[in-house]
């Protein structure tokens, strides 16, 4: 339809040419890239070695503080008061004062510094003291620390999913969680950001009083759909640009930063090019994570294991499903947002109508953590079926493997829900856009639904 195309094009072009869009498109990837790059950058920074003075009146803790690359400890036997006053003069970053207390096991200490002490320092001090106090308490209660050490154990659980055909597949709960969560959150933000843009666009047309001019040329429904689709394309454009820019920035910055990372990356690339390697070592158990990875072969193995897990998640299913819920969810909510925009005169009046559509959306992101714990439970089932919550909840569920019946049901209801929401919104919209002045009630909206078009 030629007219809808014109509307889509206008909605798209006016938004894409806005300064705010251009700024967000550039700023977004910079921020995201910063998330990746800054920690690397900070690690690269050659920090000065900090000298910390220790006055340990108990004599129990001082020997436990070991010098490291960044921290140097000096054990002193002076009056802490005088050191405290001359910290910078004497070249100390901080002073740790552990006084004698009446308790058999002391647990108070004071750290003096000029300004807020560094989190690394406080963290190290706290951890060292905690360990020592624990072992002191253990020996006070007659438990040998060695016994305790032998009791402490790490469990590395290799989960293997068995499908109906009896094929086994390594799976990782953690990774599934992450993939599901990221998918859900992306959909959530996309719906909120661009749904609200649709609503604002409708209100703008109403307050500009241009809407009556336009609906004398096109059907209100065409205007509404053109806007929803146009804004969706703006969102997709921004999304794609963000992904592309972020990848470009991260790779180029990281390649400048460190040769190590470069090497790591090339090994990853190697793996991608050569899937046989992944399969060969795929069956091996995962190495305990806290083991040192000095050996390049070990690094390789760990990477292979991660890739193997990523492979185990059915991306050939998840990616298209992500696109489906991403677009379907947006269209459903976009129509409802458009209806709200048409019913009010300005943004402050939107509150009462926003509530019923933001609640299911917020609910679905809030229950995501429970869905992760029990992706097969009744809560997960129902919320991934109901169209208002299914875009987020189904995304969270999918990486854990969902029965095809559930998926089919969810997709069918999603399409039905989208069609119904569009129909409903269309009926409210065509009356709402021509109503000025008074804020309508739900009762009035109900009447609008039943007017003849």
């Amino acid at each position: 339809m030629g007219k809808i195309k014109l509307i889509i094009l206008r909605e798209y072009l006016t938004r894409v040419r806005k300064k705010s869009f251009i700024i967000m498109t550039i700023l977004g990837p910079l921020l995201m890239a910063a998330l990746f790059v800054v920690p690397v950058f900070l690690a690269q920074l050659e920090g000065d070695t900090k000298t910390i003075a220790i006055v340990d009146e108990t004599g129990l803790f001082a020997p436990k503080f070991k010098d490291s690359e960044k921290l140097h400890f000096e054990i002193l036997n002076e009056d802490p008061e005088s050191i405290k006053l001359h910290l910078t003069d004497r070249g100390f970053y901080a002073l740790l004062h552990i006084p004698i207390t009446e308790l058999s096991v002391p647990n108070t200490a004071k750290l003096y510094a000029n300004g807020q002490p560094n989190i690394i320092v406080t963290g190290y001090v706290r951890e060292t003291m905690r360990k020592e106090i624990e072992s002191l308490k253990l020996s006070a209660s007659g438990i040998d620390p060695e016994i305790l050490r032998s009791i402490k154990s790490t469990v590395n659980l290799l989960t293997i999913r068995v499908d109906e055909g009896g094929n086994e597949q390594n799976s990782s709960t953690e990774l599934s969680m992450v993939v599901g969560y990221i998918g859900g959150i992306l959909i959530y933000f996309f719906i909120f950001m661009y749904g609200a843009q649709v609503m604002r666009g409708v209100i703008e047309e109403k307050t500009n009083r241009i809407v009556e001019v336009i609906v004398s040329s096109v059907k209100p429904f065409q205007l509404m759909m053109g806007k929803i689709i146009g804004v969706a394309m703006v969102g997709l454009t921004q999304f794609v640009l963000w992904v592309v820019f972020t990848i470009i920035i991260v790779t180029s910055v990281l390649s400048v930063f460190s040769a190590d990372i470069n090497a790591f990356r090339s090994s990853q690339l190697q793996l991608e090019k050569d899937p046989i390697i992944m399969y060969d070592s795929g069956g091996e158990t995962i190495q305990p994570q806290n083991q040192n990875m000095e050996n390049p072969e070990q690094i390789n193995e760990a990477v292979v294991a991660i890739f193997d897990q990523i492979n185990s998640i059915a991306f050939q299913l998840i990616l298209p499903m992500f696109l489906f819920y991403f677009i379907g969810g947006y269209l459903l909510y976009g129509a409802l947002f458009a209806a709200i925009g048409s019913a009010v005169d300005n943004e402050t009046d939107t509150q009462q109508f926003m509530l019923p559509i933001t609640v299911p959306l917020i609910l679905s992101i809030m229950v995501a953590q429970f869905i992760i714990i029990n992706p097969e439970g009744p809560l997960a089932f129902w919320l991934s079926i109901i169209p208002l919550t299914s875009p987020v909840v189904m995304m969270v569920r999918l990486p854990f493997g969902v029965h095809w019946v559930d998926i089919t049901l969810s997709i069918t209801l999603m399409i039905a829900g989208f069609l119904f929401a569009t129909w409903l919104a269309g009926r409210i919209y065509r009356t709402g856009i021509l109503m000025y002045g008074k804020k309508p009630s739900y009762k009035e909206l109900w009447k609008w639904l039943r007017y003849r078009s």
Binding site: K3, I7, E204, I210, E212, V213, V215, L434, R452
Partner: protein
């Protein structure tokens, strides 16, 4: 001649009231038709029905003698009372958009818009944003986009609001031009002076019903109060005594050299009798019938209808 547009027994109900109650009217081709009525009478609802923005609950609109179709929107130009433009968009771009929505191709739209912009001497606004223009300037752009697709039927709802007197005249000339070029125009306004100046026919809607319909000249004759104005001099005797019971002197005002009187003719008498009675006694300078203005007719008819509805 077949009417350009015809409304037949239109009924439209809203939640709490009936906006149009069995409204019928017919707009002759190539004429300017005044759609009049107090605020809230139902004019805008009727206009929206003609524009297919809303649908009637019952009744039918005939366009060139056949039922109105959805693709007729390209034959209709509508300048709503509540009008505006996208503030952040450039004037030319916006005009192109609206013209194309009416079905013009991009080339056609550009060509015609340019000629209209030159006619209004606003070509230098093409690349300016709408928010930089004054209200009157925006109205000009709005007028152009209403007529650029050369519709057969144009509907102007209060077209002169926001214009200064010079531009009101410019616009009137353009509207008359459009009519002479074959367009039929429905013109809704509260400005009765412009109705008299422009309209050939009118319909008066009050309380959701058509209470009056006809040509401007015909209605003026129909509602004339049979009053005459006489300017005379040398009047020695009192007019009231002179004229007797057949003629009622409504008003008399003396100037330095002449007197102006308004006289009402009682039924059964005519203007010639009045002149015959006056001739022997006074020197008549001027004599004319006082016709009601559209404003008078509007007010008297609305009040009458108001009274009969209690």
């Amino acid at each position: 001649m077949q009417p350009a547009i015809e409304a037949q027994h239109i009924i439209k109900d809203f939640a709490n009231h009936r906006a149009l109650d069995d409204v019928s009217l017919s707009v002759p081709e190539q004429q300017i038709f005044g759609l009049l009525g107090p605020n809230g009478a139902g004019k805008t609802t009727l206009i929206r029905i003609i524009n297919q923005i809303t649908a009637p609950d019952s009744g039918e609109i005939l366009f060139n003698g056949r039922a109105l179709r959805s693709d007729d929107v390209s034959q209709i130009g509508y300048l709503p009372e509540e009008r505006g433009l996208y503030k952040k968009m450039k004037v030319g771009e916006q005009a192109m958009y609206l013209a194309q929505l009416k079905g013009l191709s991009a080339n056609e739209a550009k060509q015609r818009l340019k000629s209209w912009f030159e006619k209004f001497d606003i070509m230098n606004w093409w690349n300016r944003k709408v928010e930089e223009l004054s209200k009157g300037m925006q109205q000009k752009v709005q007028f152009i986009v209403t007529v650029v697709h050369e519709p057969k039927l144009m509907i102007f709802d209060e077209p002169f609001s926001g214009f200064d007197p010079i531009n009101v005249n410019l616009l009137k000339d353009h509207i008359l031009d459009l009519k002479n070029n074959g367009a039929t125009i429905i013109f809704s306004t509260h400005n009765m002076a412009s109705v008299e100046e422009l309209c050939d026919n009118i319909a008066l809607i009050h309380r959701s019903k058509t209470i009056l319909q006809g040509s401007v000249d015909g209605l003026k004759k129909q509602f004339k109060p049979d009053n005459f104005e006489i300017v005379y001099s040398n009047g020695k005797s009192d007019l009231r005594q002179l004229l007797g019971e057949q003629f009622m002197v409504l008003e008399e005002s003396k100037k330095e050299h002449e007197t102006i009187a308004r006289i009402h003719l009682e039924p059964g008498s005519d203007a010639n009798q009045l002149i015959a009675k006056l001739l022997p006694h006074v020197n008549i300078h001027a004599f004319r019938e006082i016709l009601p203005s559209m404003n008078d007719i509007f007010i008297s008819q609305v009040n009458k209808n108001e009274r009969s509805n209690g």
